[in-house]
Amino acid sequence: MGLFVVQFLTGLSGAASLFLVASGLTLIFGVTRIVNFAHGSFYMLGAYLALSLIEALPVPRGTWGGAPFWAAMAAAALGVGLIGVLVETIVLKPIYKAPELFQLLATFGVILVVQDAALWTWGAEDRLGPRAPGLRGSIEVMGQRMPVYDLLLIAVCPVVLAGLLLLFRTTRWGILVRAATADRQMVAALGVDQRWLFTSVFFLGSCLAGLGGALQLPKGGADLAMDFGIVADMFVVTVIGGMGSIVGAFLAALLIGELRAFGVLFFPESTLILTFLIMAVVLVLRPQGLLGRAEPADAPGHDAEPVRPADRTWRIAVSVLLAALLALPMIADPFVLVLAIDVLVMALFAASLHAIMGPGGMVSFGHAAFFGGGAYAAALAVVHLGAPMTAALPAGVVGAALLAAVIGFFCVRLRGVYFAMLTLAFAQIAWSIVFQWTEVTGGDDGLLGIWPAAWAADRTRYYYLTLALVTAGIAFLRFAVFTPFGRGLRAGRDSPVRAEAIGIDVARRQWAAFVLAGAVAGLAGGLYVFAKGSVFPDEMAIPRSFDGLMMVLLGGVNTLSGPWVGAGVFTSLQDWLSRMPFWRLTLGCSIIALVILFPQGIAGFVRQRAHRHRDRGS
């Protein structure tokens, strides 16, 4: 009995940081409609800032000895709030008018910048957090011991929730925030200065993330993996609670906190999976989360633009590019060839993501599941079944397609940001299975020694094989857009209500497209494994999914050539920069600059210029 009570209390304390971070995220999303990926970075900064402040502040003697600690916590939260304002003003303000998705890309850039800034300021080593003064020991609860600090964390959740609710019910600002969450356009029409509202919401949201990080410090310390570490958790909590709902975030944080505390007791090996499973169950039963509002039925994620068949200039450009790629092994040294294979594989991966994002209107945050899924299916076929490459590559395609069929079955019931979040959750489940099932997948050590068949072992030959398969894959996906199947998919994106009213089963068609895109991503994954000779769980982790999103958005989601242009630019940039110190900082700044300069994406920008030029000429 005592054990249960203590586990219950532990669950409550674990909910504290989750709630603080998620409430900030949900608040920002509710008002600005921005999914702030960098929110996890704010959480990390909260912990590091608090740490530095605690170390810097002098400790007075006597009863006030604890004051600097708590002052540091508060100051860290406010400091992160100011950083949030800085990010909002510099990075997001210029692109509020850009398509919604583009703001995601900018926040990716912020993550990278913060990663290197933190590395430079605080070093690569994990830091232990100082104990909270006055709350160092543990107390006995029904025969079980638990840390006193946990009791503080238990109190924080309801206190912050009450404070926020009071703020929203009684102040004019709070009423505006609630109004904007319900109907942003209406609030703008009433003459409210949105710029100021957005900035202040960013401040409060970032403060909450910073406070969450700071309060976590005595328990978990501070390290550079905190940002991506919390991303999945905070998405899960916001989505289960319902995007934009603070109370929902509170309930969801408690649910997840308790689930983890008791999960450890009963299913110690599958805690990771358990969290995401709960999310999947909640979203399937209640697609808008516990307390969220349903997305309107006819609300496409972005303003879709017409697809245009290839014109003459485009055909010439692509022919030149293909000729150059064919000639590459004759003119370039082997290192360039290695990079070229990477770029090609990523181009196929990005094209497969684009197939569901562009024509399908489904923004996936977890597409790496199929890249990694294909990679692992191929690798497992080699390692465990001794399959040759010619069998392992198709196995990768089939494996990824099956995975996509399962994941897609649940995801296509949802729309917009909920769809995105659920894909992320499923990708995390897939990742945690690979990560934890060491006997089969090798876990963190990965699978090694997977090399191409003898006839393709030569680097140049493997390059040509990759070039052929990638070109075929991209050409197929491009062609599919113009087929009746692709037409029906685009119809479902443009207006689901109209599409259903002319006999199209939109969810089923989206499912089919999802499986198709998964299969192609699986081919990219398979090619990747044989190029590297190994595969690690990282290939299906969140950063890989983000890479895909970045390539698609950087290239331009509204253009069919966007994904491979984006993949080329992004992969080359990453390869070139990663040899320098603090390359993430440079890459992050480049991404932010690209986003502000080309809000249509690079290929979109080129197309726009070309059309403008043509219009002027005629």
């Binding site: 017409p306 087929t483 009746p484 199947f485 037409r487 994106r493 207006s495 002319i502 006999g503 199209i504």
Partner: protein, 246 residues
Amino acid sequence: MSLLEVAGLRKAFGGVVAVDDLSFALDAGRMLAMIGPNGAGKSTCFAMLGGQLRPDRGSVRLDGRAVTGWPARRIWRAGVGRTFQVTRTFGSMSVFDNVQTVVLSHRRRLRSLLRSARGLYREEVEALLETVGIADQQARVCAVLAYGDLKRVELAMALAARPRLLLMDEPTAGMAPAERGALMRLIEGICRERALGVLFTEHDMDIVFEHADEIMVLARGRAIAHGTPAEVRADPQVQAVYLGEA
């Protein structure tokens, strides 16, 4: 047996009863107008007939077959075409592609991944565009069309699957007066010629009384009158609730 038979239809949203105990019938080749003030329940009724909403109670029969609560795509296959109060077209596609998509779906050719959709059923699609008078704009993208033209595109889309029943929620909204008359004459002609049942809503009373064979008046979700235009015009309750206010 009528083409459309509605009995005891009801839909409530929370505590608000949008449509309450609605019953009526419509024969092939006839035009039935549903009128009533804003919020009377017209669009809710259309949504239940078209399959966009599930009724709480009541039944909908098409040619004697119960289609109550069917999803929209199935009702459409059963021969019901519709237009929406706020037009719903595929904004990123050309006028031609919008109509062609419906034709492809009607012919069950919308699943193919093996050939390009370009040029399929060109003659059929162009004939439909000709019918509604928008053939000259077929290459334009729907997102940039004027509202009145979108209404025409929707009509072509509704006709493309050769429906037996046409549901038209304010078919002439956003059009110039001269255009309205022309479009309604077109619809009436198609109705008579192809023996379609047409159920439409309209705020312009001149159009209603000129083109409808029968008029049903809705107020707060209930039918308060149903009859020929002359009967409805003479109904004292209608004059009090509706026409008197106008």
